[in-house]
C-alpha cells in the first residue's frame, strides 16, 4: 500500500512459492545472483516449513533499482510451483501482478500466465524452466544467466548442466514468444561495482573468519546451522578446527576449553540450544574465558516454530547464566553489520575475557542482500592471550587490576602455570572461601562492564531532531523501521528512527535525552511482550508510548509497521 512504482525506478516483489524439494531455493539464489550482477538491489525473505519435502515454502526477492533494506509485502510477480501457492498468495498480489502457473493445472482467473511446463523439460527441471521464463519477463541478459547456470551446475556434472541449460533456454524462449504481459525491469545503475550476494549467517561466518577465529563447536539447530556450515566450508583454508558436539552443553564447554588453550572460539545455536549453554556461559564469566556465542532466534517457547523468525530471546540472552558477570550483546541490523559486529564481538571477548553475544534471527540469517565485498585491507586477527614475557614473578591468572582485566597467559606456551577455576578463587586461580577475596573478585569481574560500556556502540539516529514520532528498534528490524519512517515522512509526519545494534550494555545518559526530545516514542520489535521496551525503561526509566510487536513467525516489514501505527494511532 505504501510502495510507489514507476518504470524508471523499479521496486518490485518477486515470490517463488512451492514445496520443499522443488528447488525453489536454487532458482531463488540464481535469480539473486543474476539480479545483483545486473546492478539491482535485493532483499530476500525465506519462509519455510520445518520439513524436507512438501509443505509450502516461499523465497521472496524484493528487487529494486535504488537501495532497499527491508522486505516488501505486495507481490508483483509470483512463480507458483504448486497450485496451492496461487491460492495462498492471492490476497497479497499487487494490482498489476502476474502469476506464473503450470498450464497443466488448467486454472482460470485473473493475472495468470499459464506456462506449458511439460513441454519445457522433465519435472525435476521445472524450476529451471520457470527461471528461464522469469529471466525473460524481467528482461535479464540471457548470456549472463547461462554463464551463471554453468557456474552453479557445471562443477557437478555435465549432463545435469545440459539438462538445466536446455530447460532454461526453453523457458526463456517460450516467454519471449508469449509473456509480453509483464513490464521488464528498468535498468539498474551500472556503477555499483562488484557486490556479493550474501545472507546474514554467511556474513557472521565471514566475520568470525575475519576476526581470526580458530575454533568452532556446535550442535545443529535451525536457524544457526548455516553459520557453521559456512565456516566448515572454509575451515581448512582458514585454519580452523570445527567440531560437531554431542550436545550444546558440550559445544560451549569445548569452545571454552579451546579458548582457554588460546584459540579464538565461537559457538552458534538457537534459543533451546542456548538454554543448554547457559551454565557454561556462567562458567565463561567466572573463568574469564573469552568466547563468542551466536544466538539465532526463532519463535519459542520450546520447539516453537523452528524455521520462522522472532526476537523473543533478548531477555534470556541478557540474563542467561547464574550469578553476575559482565557481558556484551550485539544485535546486527544488516548483513554488513553481521560481519562487522561478529568481528567486534571477538575483539571485545578477548579484550575483556568474558562471553560476548551476537543475537540474530531467522529472518536476517536467511535474508540475501547485495553487499559490497568486505575489504580485508588492514584487517588484523584477534591476538589471544598476553605475552608471557610481560609476567614478572609468579603468574596469577586473576590478578586484581584497575579495569578488572588480568594478563591472560595460555597454558603450555610458557613455563608459567595457568590455573582457571569455576569456584570463587584467589588471584592465582585456586579455590578460596575467603569472603573478602570473594567480594573483591566480584568487583573485579564487574569492573569489566565499565570498560565495555566505554566502548559503547551508540544507536543510529536518523531523521530530524525533535520528531513527532520516534521509532525505536533493535537488531534485524532496522531496515523495516527505517523504511517505515520514510513512508511516514512522505505522508507528512516528522519521524526519526533510533536503531540499536548494541543492546547491552546501554548508556542511560546518552539514550534518555534522545527519547525525551521526541513526541511519541514507539518501540518496534519481533516479540509479544516488548522486551527491549522493558529494557530501555529499566535502564533509563523511560516508558515507551507505544509498541509495535509481531510474533506470528514472520519478519516485521515497513507495511506492517505503518499499518499498525495508522490503525492504533
Amino acid at each position: 500500500m505504501t510502495e510507489q512504482k514507476n518504470s524508471r525506478s523499479h521496486d518490485l516483489l518477486l515470490v517463488i512459492g512451492g514445496e520443499a524439494g522443488q528447488g525453489l531455493v536454487t532458482i531463488g539464489q540464481l535469480l539473486c545472483r543474476a539480479l545483483v550482477l545486473e546492478g539491482y538491489e535485493i532483499v530476500v525473505v525465506q519462509s519455510y516449513h520445518s520439513r524436507i519435502r512438501g509443505g509450502h515454502n516461499t523465497f521472496s526477492i524484493r528487487v529494486a533499482t535504488s537501495p532497499v533494506e527491508a522486505a516488501a509485502t505486495r507481490i508483483d510477480l509470483l512463480v507458483a510451483l504448486t497450485e496451492e501457492t496461487v491460492a495462498a498468495h492471492r490476497p497479497e498480489l499487487a494490482e498489476k501482478a502476474l502469476v506464473l502457473v503450470d498450464e497443466a493445472w488448467k486454472l482460470e482467473g485473473e493475472k495468470l500466465l499459464a506456462v506449458p511446463f511439460a513441454g519445457l523439460g522433465a519435472e525435476k527441471v521445472f524450476n529451471v524452466a520457470a527461471f528461464g521464463v522469469l529471466a525473460c519477463l524481467l528482461g535479464l541478459q540471457r548470456g549472463r544467466l547461462e554463464a551463471l547456470l554453468d557456474k552453479t551446475f557445471g562443477r557437478k556434472h555435465a549432463a545435469l548442466l545440459q539438462e538445466n541449460l536446455q530447460a532454461f533456454g526453453r523457458g526463456y524462449d517460450w516467454a519471449q514468444k508469449n509473456g509480453a504481459a509483464f513490464e521488464p525491469l528498468a535498468q539498474a545503475p551500472q556503477d555499483r561495482g562488484p557486490r556479493m550476494v550474501m545472507n546474514g549467517n554467511e556474513a557472521i561466518a565471514l566475520g568470525a573468519l575475519a576476526a581470526g577465529a580458530k575454533f568452532a563447536s556446535f550442535y545443529p539447530m535451525t536457524p544457526a546451522t548455516s553459520i557453521l556450515l559456512t565456516i566448515i566450508a572454509h575451515a581448512d583454508a582458514m585454519g580452523l578446527v570445527v567440531e560437531q558436539a554431542e550436545d550444546e552443553i558440550a559445544a560451549l564447554n569445548m569452545a571454552l576449553g579451546a579458548a582457554f588453550a588460546g584459540a579464538p572460539a565461537l559457538v552458534a545455536t538457537s534459543g533451546g540450544g542456548f538454554a543448554l549453554m547457559t551454565e557454561a556461559v556462567s562458567l565463561a564469566g567466572m573463568t574469564e574465558t573469552p568466547v563468542v556465542v551466536i544466538v539465532a532466534q526463532r519463535p519459542g517457547p520450546a520447539t516453537g516454530l523452528p524455521t520462522r523468525t522472532e526476537q523473543g530471546d533478548l531477555e534470556f540472552v541478557l540474563h542467561g547464566g547464574h550469578g553476575e558477570f559482565a557481558r556484551l550483546v550485539l544485535a546486527p541490523g544488516s548483513v554488513e553489520s553481521c560481519f562487522e559486529l561478529t568481528r567486534r564481538a571477538f575483539f571485545l571477548a578477548e579484550e575483556y575475557q568474558t562471553p560476548c553475544f551476537v543475537l540474530t534471527d531467522q529472518y536476517l540469517a536467511d535474508s540475501y542482500r547485495a553487499v559490497p565485498p568486505f575489504s580485508v585491507e588492514g584487517l588484523e586477527p584477534v591476538r589471544p592471550g598476553s605475552d608471557p614475557r610481560s609476567v614478572s614473578g609468579t603468574y596469577e591468572r586473576y590478578a586484581i587490576t584497575g579495569d578488572g582485566v588480568s594478563p591472560r597467559l595460555l597454558p603450555g606456551l610458557s613455563t608459567h602455570l595457568v590455573v582457571a577455576d569455576s569456584d570463587e578463587h584467589t588471584s592465582d586461580g585456586h579455590i578460596t572461601e575467603d569472603l573478602s577475596v570473594r567480594a573483591e573478585m566480584v568487583r573485579k569481574r564487574l569492573r569489566k562492564l565499565e570498560g565495555i560500556r566505554r566502548q559503547w556502540l551508540a544507536p543510529e539516529y536518523d531523521g530530524p531532531a525533535a520528531p513527532q514520532q520516534l521509532l525505536v528498534c533493535w537488531g534485524s528490524c532496522r531496515g523495516a523501521v527505517r523504511e517505515a519512517a520514510r513512508h511516514l515522512r512522505q505522508a507528512g509526519k516528522t519521524v526519526a528512527t533510533l536503531c540499536f545494534e548494541q543492546v547491552w550494555p546501554l548508556v542511560e545518559e546518552r539514550i534518555l535525552p534522545v527519547l525525551e526530545q521526541a513526541g511519541e516514542v514507539v518501540c518496534v520489535e519481533g516479540n509479544a511482550t516488548g522486551q527491549f521496551a522493558r529494557l530501555l525503561r529499566r535502564e533509563t526509566g523511560f516508558a515507551m508510548h507505544r509498541t509495535v510487536l509481531r510474533y506470528d513467525g514472520l519478519a516485521i516489514t515497513p507495511d506492517y509497521i505503518v499499518d499498525r501505527l495508522q490503525a492504533s494511532g
Binding site: 557486490r195 580458530k214 585454519g239 562458567l283 565485498p373 568486505f374 597454558p411
Partner: protein
Amino acid sequence: MVDSRDYGEFETAWCPGCGNFGLLRALKRALAACGLEPHQILLVSGIGQAAKAPHYLRANVFNGLHGRSLPVATGAKLANPGLTVIAESGDGCMYGEGGNHFLAALRRNLDITILVHDNQVYGLTKGQASPTSAAGFVTKAQPRGVFANPFNPLAVAVAMGCGFVGRGYVGRQDELIELIARAIRYRGTALVDIQQPCVSFNHLNTYDWYNARCQPLADDYDAGNFDLALRTALESGFRLPVGVLYEKEGQAVFEDNFAVLKEKTPLCQRPTDYRQLAAIIESYT
C-alpha cells in the same frame, strides 16, 4: 629429570583417610615417570571432591563445571595438541552428569587420559548414590537402597572400542602409578577407573572391601584380547582385578584427522590468511 616432588605439596580439603590422597600421590609419581614438566600438563576437572585434585599439584588447570570436564579437555586438546591433557573427576561427574560426554569421548578417541576417582558415591554433596553405587546401597537420598543397576564403565568402554581400559585401586599404589603412567603414554583415549574409598559416606566400599577384591590381573592376562577384556570387565561380585584390562595400539586418533592440526601447532599460533579470506569473499560476488 622430573621428580614427583616437582608437583609440590598442598593442603587439601579432603577428609583424613580419604582415597583421594592415594590417587593424588600416584598421579604425581606417574607424571614424573612420564617425564612431564608441570607446564606441559593440563588437568581438566569438573566439580566434586575428586575434581579438586588438580588444585593440589603444580600443573595447568581448568577446573570447570560438574560433569563437563571432557568437553573442556576435548576443546583444549584440539586447540593445542601438544598439551598432555588429563581429564580427572569423580564417578558422579564423569558417569552421572557427564554421561553423554563420556560416550562422546570414547567415540572420538582423542589422545587424552580420563582418570575417574570412583568412590561409588557423591562425596561433596554428602553421600547420595552415584551411577556406580551398588544396587541396594542405602543413603539419605536412597533410604530404601538404590533401585537402578550400577553403571559398568569398563564394560561399556570396551564394548565401545576404547583402546585403553584400566582399573586401578588407591590401595595398590605401585600398580596404580604404573597404570596411570601407561594410560598417559597411550596414544588415544585412555580410561582409568580408580576405586577409592570415601571414608565419610561410603561405608560399604571400604578399604577392606576393596583390599579383598582388587588383586592384580594374572601375569599371563592378555590385554590384547577383546573378548577376555569384555568378560573381565563384566565380572562383578568378588573380583575387581586391577591393571590394564584392554589395550589396543594403533587406533586412529581423532585430532590427526584435522588437516589444520597436522603439525600440532597450537591454533593460536596459526596465522590468519587474509588472502584466502579475500578469495572467499570474492566467491560471493
